[in-house]
Structures are given as structure tokens and as C-alpha cells.
């Protein structure tokens, strides 16, 4: 085909834009190898020390473990509650569908500061002490709507005739759910859980309002920002980045393999 500058423009632009998106990631990764002492701002030479002494910097590992714990619990709660709501919204007829949908949309339209301040006011009024529990409550709240939206899309794309066929073939409602509906929804539920975990793990604003003396990893970064962040924080962030990227790439490869296998003729 003939080369045309007009046609090459878009790919070139996309490559440049993607590089732009990745600059801060490269920077964070590079500075995880900085032989810094207190603050990790100026480049002082290359070292692996930060990676081997990752937990020796005060607060880095503790806050990281807290973030993982909170992420797992909030994800489990939000996914369970949200999946049930998604199924109800798509599959059942009931009154007040409009208000329920609105109630689910509102948290997504609420800025995090407002949600954070609201919960904090309530905890203050009720005299609840802020800590791990309040963080988990907050995270479950903002993950919930995203779970519903993600799973809902999957339920809507599911042919109701499949469930009807299940019932037609003598399946009890419970059997139809666990043997037909659930396996077919699983990819959507997993996607929602991954999204939840990512949202929870990276959340700072709502956490900051409701965390009391507990540190999550983003809160640790925020508090340290004023006086200099230890290079070990970059190590944690880079390691999480590499791990997440690997998971995504592996699952992508598996998904496309599986798609190919399904498309292949049975011989």
C-alpha cells in the first residue's frame, strides 16, 4: 500500500501519547534504584539496596500490608453485594427501579471529598472511632457502584433463554443459578473484583478522611511527600506495577488462546 503521511499521523500520535502516559512510571521505577539517603529527589547513583531492604524503611511495609488487607476485604464485600444487585436489576421486574438505579448512580457522581467528609461526619456524630473498620466501610461503599455497573453489563449480555433451557431440563432455581448463571457471569464478576481492588488499593482521598491512625500505602506516600519519600516506596509501587501488569498480560494471553480454541473446528 502507498505510504501516506495522513495515515501515519494517528499511529505516531498514539505512540507519543502512550510514551507521555508512561513517563512518570518510568521515573518512579528508575528512582527505586536511586542510592538516596533521606529524600529521593536527586539522582545519586544506582543501587539494588532499596529492593533488598524494602521493609527497613519505617512504615512502608506496614502500610502496604494494610492496603492489601483492606483491598481484599472491601473487594469481597462489594463484589458479593453488587453482584446480587446487578442480577436483580437486569433480571427482575420490581417497582422503584428508577430510584434504585439513581441511588446506585449517585455515589459515582459524588466527588470523593464529599463522600469522605460525609462518612467522617457520620462517624463523628455517632461517636465511632476511625480505624480499619471505617476504612473498609468507606472502600466497600465506593466500589459497590462500579461492581454493579460492570456485572450488570455482563448479565445483560447473557441470553435469558439459557436459564430457561436450564429450567426446562429439570434444574431447580438453585441448580440453574450455580450451574448456568454463575459460571457465565464469572468473567464479569472477576473483572468487577479486579476493578474494586484497584480502586481500593489506590484510594487516598476517602481513606484520609476516615482512617484515624491507620496508614494505607497512599496515605503513607501523602504524609511523607512533605519531608521526602523513601526510595523503598518506589520499590513497592514498582513491584505492584510489574505484578499487576504481568497478571493482566497473562490473563489477556489466556483469554485470546481460549477464544482461538473455541473458534477452532472440532475434528
Amino acid at each position: 500500500m502507498r505510504f501516506s503521511f495522513g495515515k501515519a499521523l494517528l499511529p505516531i500520535y498514539t505512540v507519543l501519547a502512550l510514551i507521555f502516559l508512561l513517563i512518570p512510571i518510568g521515573y518512579t521505577f528508575a528512582f527505586s534504584f536511586n542510592a538516596s539517603d533521606k529524600s529521593n529527589i536527586v539522582w545519586r547513583g544506582f543501587t539494588f539496596n532499596n529492593w533488598t531492604t524494602v521493609c527497613q524503611a519505617q512504615g512502608v511495609c506496614d502500610s502496604f500490608v494494610n492496603s492489601i488487607f483492606i483491598g481484599v476485604v472491601a473487594t469481597a464485600l462489594a463484589t458479593a453485594i453488587g453482584t446480587a444487585m446487578a442480577i436483580a436489576l437486569v433480571r427482575y421486574r420490581f417497582r422503584f427501579r428508577g430510584p434504585v438505579s439513581l441511588l446506585l448512580f449517585l455515589p459515582m457522581a459524588t466527588p470523593e471529598v464529599v463522600m469522605g467528609a460525609g462518612l467522617a461526619s457520620q462517624f463523628l456524630t455517632a461517636g465511632v472511632e476511625k480505624g480499619m473498620t471505617t476504612i473498609i466501610i468507606a472502600h466497600t461503599l465506593f466500589c459497590l457502584s462500579f461492581v454493579v455497573v460492570t456485572v450488570k453489563a455482563r448479565v445483560a449480555s447473557l441470553d435469558p433463554a439459557l436459564e430457561e433451557a436450564g429450567r426446562d431440563l429439570y434444574g431447580s432455581p438453585a441448580q440453574v443459578f450455580w450451574r448456568i448463571t454463575f459460571p457465565l457471569l464469572l468473567p464479569g464478576i472477576l473483572a468487577a473484583a479486579m476493578l474494586s481492588f484497584a480502586l481500593s488499593f489506590d484510594d487516598f482521598i476517602i481513606t484520609y478522611f476516615n482512617s484515624g491512625s491507620i496508614y494505607t500505602f497512599p496515605k503513607f506516600v501523602y504524609i511523607s511527600a512533605a519531608r521526602g519519600i523513601p526510595a523503598q516506596a518506589n520499590v513497592i509501587a514498582s513491584a505492584v506495577f510489574i505484578l499487576a501488569l504481568t497478571i493482566v498480560i497473562v490473563s489477556q494471553v489466556f483469554a485470546s488462546r481460549k477464544a482461538k480454541k473455541l473458534a477452532a473446528p472440532i475434528s
Binding site: 499511529p11 508512561l22 512518570p24 420490581f94 459515582m108 484497584a198 509501587a237 489477556q252 485470546s256
Partner: protein, 304 residues
């Protein structure tokens, strides 16, 4: 054949579910209870707090229930400018993110269809920033463009910037940070609609004498509207309430404070809960009005 075709449209018009409502109630109950307890009640708590008055002879941070609507007048007087600045920054950042993201989404979703591998890689690179703490990413920009960084020195040496130009602490830096942070949120929903765009519509448009630019504005753009609407909302709402980018420890300075910073400092630093609550309620109200108008005008009411 005609029957099958008719069945298709019938499905599209009436996809209403037909089962009873008892199971629905059971499925919905936990979620509704959760939202009532931890979303609606806090909003009420926020409204009540916003009307509180300082306790007589009380300590700092002690308030009693009252109906002090003057709190609102006070915050409007004190933070009116901050409010406008917040929405201004958020609006500019949203427009910038849209202009930057649309071509990316178009390339990945339409032009790269023939090469699934390129599509997958580009998509992973777009979401890659999600996997690294956004606070660290924002700090990275701060350090890349700090006053004595080699980036700034180079730009100054090349006379692209004046000798005493700053990046951090300027409105430009805050808008830059907001734009950068929300590009993936803008790109993904637009990509999702463009990826499903049937190119046969584009062919039909060309067949009906529309030149490529007309086809873009009359067919491609309207058909990707749902993605644009979700993308702009996913950007505008969090951007207008953000306080990381505008914070002095990150890209902002004293003159770039946004309403998020005001809420945060009132609530967590100087413990003026009523002021913080009043600001929150106003922020939420303005956003809801904007969202309602926007969703109505763009005709995509089934966002959820």
C-alpha cells in the same frame, strides 16, 4: 426470515424482565441497606453538620445542632473564588483530556482492528498508569519539572521558557496534573464505544457522498457519544473535587487551591466541620445540577 427479523426488533423494544419481585427484593436488600446506612445517612449528617453552630464556651471543633444557614453565606464569601477556580480547572482539564484521548481511543478501537496484538498492547499501556499509585505519579511530574531539574534547565537553555519560569505552583501545573491523571478514565469509555462502532456505517456514509470529515462529525462522533459522556463525567466529577494535584506538596501552590483543599483543611486541620460540610454540600449540589443537565442534553439517560 421476516419473522426472525421481527423477533429481533421486538426484543430490542421490550427486553423487560418478567419474573416476580420477591427474589429481587432479597437480592437488593443488602445493597440498599448498605447505601442507606453509609451513603444517604452520611449525606443527611453532612447537611445537619453544615448548619451547626459553635458550642457556647466549647473547645475548638465542638459544635451543636442548629439552623445556622449563615454558614453557607460565610463559605461563599470566603471560598467563592476557590469554587470557580475548581470548576474552571476541572473544565479545562476535561476538555484537554478529551482532545488528547479521542485520537488514542480512535486509533486503538477502529484503526488498529486489523492488528489485535497492537490493540491489546496499546490498551494495556493506556491502563498501565492505574497500576502505580497516582500520588507517586503526580510526585514524579513535580520532580521532573521542579525548578532546578534538568528538564526545566534545558527548556530555559533552549529559550522555550523564560529565565525565571516555574512549573510547580502554577495553575498550568495543576491543570496539567489533572489532565494527565484522568486521560485513562477518558480513553477507556471512548475506546469501548469506538471498538463496537460498526465500520459499515462509515462506508454507508461515504457511499452517500459524505467526505471523511463530514462522516466523522455526522456519524462517528454521534455514535461514540455514550463513551464521551461517561468519559467526561468520569473525569470532570473527580477532577472538580480533587485536592492532590492542587496541594502545595504536589503540583499546586497557595494561589491554586481548589475546593477539595478547602474541605480537607477545614475538616481535618482546623476542625471547622460546619464550613467543610457546607462546602461539600454545595460542591455536590453544583455537580449534580451539571450532571443532570449534561446527561439530559446529550440524550444518554441510561448511564446505569
Amino acid at each position: 426470515m421476516a419473522f426472525a427479523a421481527f423477533a429481533n426488533t421486538a426484543q430490542a423494544v421490550d427486553a423487560a424482565p418478567r419474573k416476580s419481585s420477591k427474589i429481587a427484593l432479597v437480592l437488593l436488600a443488602p445493597g440498599l441497606a448498605y447505601l442507606a446506612l453509609f451513603f444517604l445517612t452520611p449525606l443527611v449528617a453532612l447537611i445537619l453538620t453544615s448548619l451547626q453552630a459553635p458550642a457556647l464556651y466549647g473547645d475548638m471543633g465542638e459544635y451543636v445542632y442548629a439552623f445556622r444557614w449563615e454558614n453557607y453565606v460565610a463559605v461563599v464569601n470566603e471560598y467563592g473564588e476557590t469554587f470557580l477556580r475548581s470548576f474552571g480547572y476541572a473544565l479545562i482539564a476535561t476538555m484537554a483530556a478529551l482532545l488528547i484521548s479521542y485520537p488514542i481511543a480512535y486509533f486503538i478501537g477502529v484503526r488498529a482492528r486489523k492488528w489485535p496484538a497492537i490493540q491489546a498492547i496499546a490498551l494495556i499501556l493506556v491502563i498501565a498508569p492505574f497500576f502505580i499509585s497516582f500520588l507517586l505519579r503526580t510526585l514524579a511530574w513535580k520532580q521532573i519539572f521542579s525548578d532546578d531539574s534538568w528538564t526545566m534547565e534545558t527548556l530555559k537553555a533552549l529559550s522555550i521558557l523564560g529565565p525565571d519560569a516555574h512549573f510547580t505552583g502554577t495553575p498550568f501545573a495543576v491543570i496539567f496534573g489533572l489532565t494527565y491523571n484522568f486521560i485513562p478514565f477518558m480513553t477507556l469509555p471512548i475506546y469501548t464505544t469506538l471498538e463496537r462502532l460498526d465500520t459499515r456505517y462509515l462506508e454507508a456514509s461515504g457511499d452517500l457522498y459524505a467526505r471523511p470529515s463530514t462522516t466523522f462529525f455526522k456519524v462517528t462522533l454521534p455514535l461514540s457519544m455514550p463513551g464521551i459522556v461517561s468519559g467526561t463525567l468520569l473525569t470532570f466529577i473527580p477532577a472538580s473535587g480533587d485536592y492532590i494535584n492542587a496541594s502545595g506538596d504536589f503540583l499546586g501552590g497557595p494561589s491554586t487551591q481548589m475546593v477539595g483543599n478547602a474541605i480537607q483543611s477545614n475538616f481535618l486541620v482546623i476542625l471547622q466541620y460546619p464550613a467543610a460540610a457546607a462546602l461539600s454540600i454545595m460542591l455536590m449540589a453544583v455537580i449534580l445540577v451539571i450532571v443532570a443537565i449534561y446527561v439530559k442534553r446529550s440524550g444518554t439517560e441510561d448511564l446505569i
